[in-house]
């Protein structure tokens, strides 16, 4: 890699030479230029989030040129007829002006809003992908926590942005936040006064949220994204299990040129799709709602999707749980939901450490699990998804009731029950499904794939021909980590600690029901078994046609290659 004397080596090389002689990029390029990235559709979820964030920065910057974050009362005199002469805040007026008086303004508002929805959605799905494939295992635990923080920051960015136009719905959202803050013991009402600059709604909140929304939160997201990606580079990307893919290597395509083209192109595709949605589908038509007023009713309204689960948690709290202790009000109907949300997020964030503690596995893991091969983890994930989903659906109890002609009270009570029963059912069902899929894989490895070809044997018996897998297909089904439960063992002082007992109990919970990967011995035995039977005879003539003497060859070929 000598670039110092490089002249006229081609367009790109000449430009690179110019840069290298000034800032020394050759070293960086040497290190990263051919870095290998594995290919899989599910790895693009995080990319979607990243690109949505870039779109947010671009469209958001445009919006800041026109938006005025002030709540001073003005009388509207713009082009939108229905609101002419109405009192409104400057923030709301400037939002209307962006929508109706700036060419492409509405387009930018809609791109910004859709990109925000997509950002949180993609981050959430990315989080699920990482969870269900075990990509959070060592050495990526810290990056998982960073990811969870990014997801939460995304919600924060979304909410602060949603509140800026100062329309009826966003004001109502802030009213709910105000109510929640007031419910905090001891300091609640005081904090509310600080946040709103006095009594709700005041004239300060939009400007304050604006500062958070356009500076603090995006800056934090940016920093955490940089940390996130930096760690991806350090760890190199995980890959799915497959032939030749190991914990000690990474198999895929080089950054330059393949991933520059693919990932770079994908940015334009994500941007393009967002632009298409924004051009054709209206979102948050604030002109229909009017400026914020604490009094009008707004039935059937919904927050942006990612706030839904928090709103649902508020709705599902039981009646009459507020208490009046020591002369003070304890708003459990608010504290309980907040606590539930916080505990859920903390559990999600620390999950890698819990699992690592249970397995005691200190090795690095770079080959991803297929979800079925970690049945209890997958089941825990499913339970978590159902818990979140019920809270989320809880935010739509009124819409569910009106659209399906049900009693609102029954819908809400069902949700309350479902919040507890749903995750348990999801856990049991998912774990059983995973174990069954593992057994299916095991059967396929041992006996081959069902072909649907029925053959009649000379003595009249009918059997189905099973076609053996080739070694590559087989490897996908047997390459997974297997753990077994442990007993509580005494430590060096001969004592069985509480920690050891708990860990043993957890290990039973995780690995009591386990299906070990098929070993070479078992495979051999299965083939012997087939050989000893008549059905071996059926496979032989078929095998002769396509791949002669498939089975014995496969058996021997494997050890030879390694």
């Amino acid at each position: 890699m000598s670039t110092t004397t490089a002249k006229k080596q081609g367009f790109l090389a000449d430009r690179a030479n110019f840069l290298d002689e000034r800032v020394g990029v050759a070293g960086i390029l040497k290190e990263f230029g051919r870095k290998v990235f594995p290919d899989h559709w599910s790895f693009m979820l995080g990319e979607v989030a990243l690109y949505s964030f870039l779109v947010l920065l671009l469209s958001g910057t445009f919006l800041t040129f026109f938006f005025q974050p002030a709540q001073t009362d003005v009388i509207y005199n713009g082009v939108f007829g229905p609101l002419k002469g109405a009192h409104m805040s400057v923030a709301y007026e400037s939002t209307l002006n962006i929508s109706f008086e700036v060419r492409g303004g509405l387009l930018m508002r809609q791109v910004h809003h859709w990109a925000a929805l997509l950002f949180v959605a993609a981050a959430g799905l990315h989080l699920l992908r990482v969870f269900f494939t075990g990509a959070f295992r060592k050495p990526r635990e810290i990056n998982w926590v960073v990811g969870v923080v990014l997801f939460v920051l995304g919600m924060g960015g979304g909410f602060t942005g949603y509140s800026l136009p100062d329309d009826l719905l966003s004001g109502n959202g802030l009213r709910i936040i105000d109510g929640m803050i007031k419910g905090v013991p001891v300091i609640g009402a005081y904090i509310s006064s600080l946040l709103f600059g006095g009594e709700f709604p005041g004239e300060a909140i939009v400007a304050r949220l604006y500062g958070l929304h356009i500076l603090l939160i995006p800056a934090m997201i940016l920093v955490f994204i940089v940390v996130h990606l930096f760690m991806v580079v350090i760890h190199k990307h995980t890959h799915y299990s497959g032939p030749g893919r190991k914990d000690t290597n990474v198999v895929g395509y080089p950054l330059m040129p393949v991933y520059v083209a693919k990932a770079g192109g994908f940015f334009f595709i994500v941007f393009g799709v967002l632009m298409l949605i924004a051009a054709t589908i209206t979102i948050n038509p604030v002109w229909n709602y009017g400026s914020y007023d604490p009094s009008p009713v707004s039935a059937g309204t919904q927050p942006d999707w990612y706030i839904g689960w928090a709103d649902g948690a508020l709705r599902l709290a039981p009646s009459h749980i507020e208490t009046y202790w020591f002369g003070y009000t304890w708003s459990w109907n608010i504290l309980l939901p907040i606590l539930v949300l916080l505990v859920f997020l903390v559990l999600v964030a620390v999950y890698p450490f819990i699992e690592q503690w249970v397995t005691g596995d200190e090795r690095e893991h770079h080959v991803l699990d297929r979800p079925r091969n970690a049945p209890v983890r997958t089941a825990i994930g499913a339970a978590g998804v159902v818990f979140y989903a019920v809270l989320w659906a809880g935010a739509g109890t009124d819409l569910i009731a009106t659209n399906f002609k049900l009693s609102l009270n029954q819908v809400l009570t069902s949700m309350q029950i479902l919040l507890f029963v749903g995750p348990v059912v999801a856990f049991i069902v998912t774990k059983r499904v995973c174990l069954s899929l593992q057994r299916k894989d095991q059967a396929i490895v041992l006996h081959g794939r069902e072909t649907g070809r029925i053959i009649r044997l000379p003595h009249g018996e009918y059997v189905e021909v099973h076609e053996p897998l080739n070694e590559f297909e087989m490897w996908k089904l047997v390459d997974f980590k297997d753990y077994k439960p442990t007993l509580a063992r005494p430590n060096a002082e001969g004592k069985i600690t509480v920690g050891a007992r708990v860990r043993a109990a957890f290990s039973r919970f995780y690995f009591e029901d386990r299906i070990a990967p098929v070993t070479a011995g078992e495979l051999e035995a299965a083939h012997e078994h087939h050989g000893g039977h008549d059905d071996h005879a059926i496979e032989a003539p078929k095998a002769e046609k396509k791949a002669p003497a498939k089975k014995p060859a496969a058996k021997k070929a494997a050890p030879k290659k390694k």
Partner: protein
Amino acid sequence: MSNQGKSAAKGGAEHTYEGGLAVIPADAIKDPGLEPHRVRMTDKSPKHERAAVRQVASLFVLSFLGSAFSIYAYFAFPITDDLGSVRSNTLFLGLGITLGLMGIGIGAVHWAKTLMPDAEVSEERHQARSSEADRARALEIIKLADEESGFSRRKLIRRSLYTALAAFPIPAIFFFADLGKDQTNNLRHTMWKAGTRLVKDPTGTPIKASDVTVGSVFHVVPDGLVELEEHMLEEKAKAAVLLVRLDPADLKEDPAKASWSYDGIVAYSKICTHVGCPVALYEQHTHHLLCPCHQSTFDVTEHCKVVFGPASRPLPQLPIAVDSEGYLVAQSDFNEPVGPSFWER
């Protein structure tokens, strides 16, 4: 530094960790190694390769046309007084930009997939953990720094530094105190006073008791609220009231509060005692008030007690009477704070 690292990596033994509860079978099936690469049509046939080149270039040209169109659309579809123009401006501008973006995106990906090498390559990974030599050197540096500074040795310096570091952010917390004056006491009072007329929201017309028919509902604010120059919304957020007239036979009144209503007309705070949304969905045949935000339901016949949903307290009742002209007026302010609960309530 990098030289040092390299030589150290060679010398340092590979660190291995325990697998914990992992089972490592002795006779595991062996990894067959990477699958043989399958050659693409564009690699085999020059005709397909040329076609792919044409497709990629066409996509880039399409992108150019899209961007050009969006510039045209910016001028061709201006925003006029007709609001329909906003729609066509948004649509055509957006479609042009979409084409401009998608052409580049799909073109680049197509280029990568059809014309760039598609044979997977394998690269070694290294453990995140540094080499033994690097770790030893790092530990040495830490120890040296500790030794040279006396960080561990000089307890006085260390502890005084901790104290100073713990204290220095605290002034910043105080700085937030001027974000707003504590308004907790204001939460206990609203604009309602003895004799304040009940007027319709938003027109501001006073309400005659005789105009309120059984079963009707009025959205009410105190007289004078609309004219407020300052803090109109803050006052409204506390003083909004819902007025309902029931058949007096339906009312199950607490004797202590029986004088708060007038001939079956009752007035309740419209601000939900849960988190403060306006509670104003009135169901006539059940006499229930429903909050649209979180579905707290209040029974108007029984002093708006909570019959369903997350709220805990009944909606505060505004004591009302009739003045000499027959208009509805407040007897006093609410007798308890309205809106969401708070600690000192």
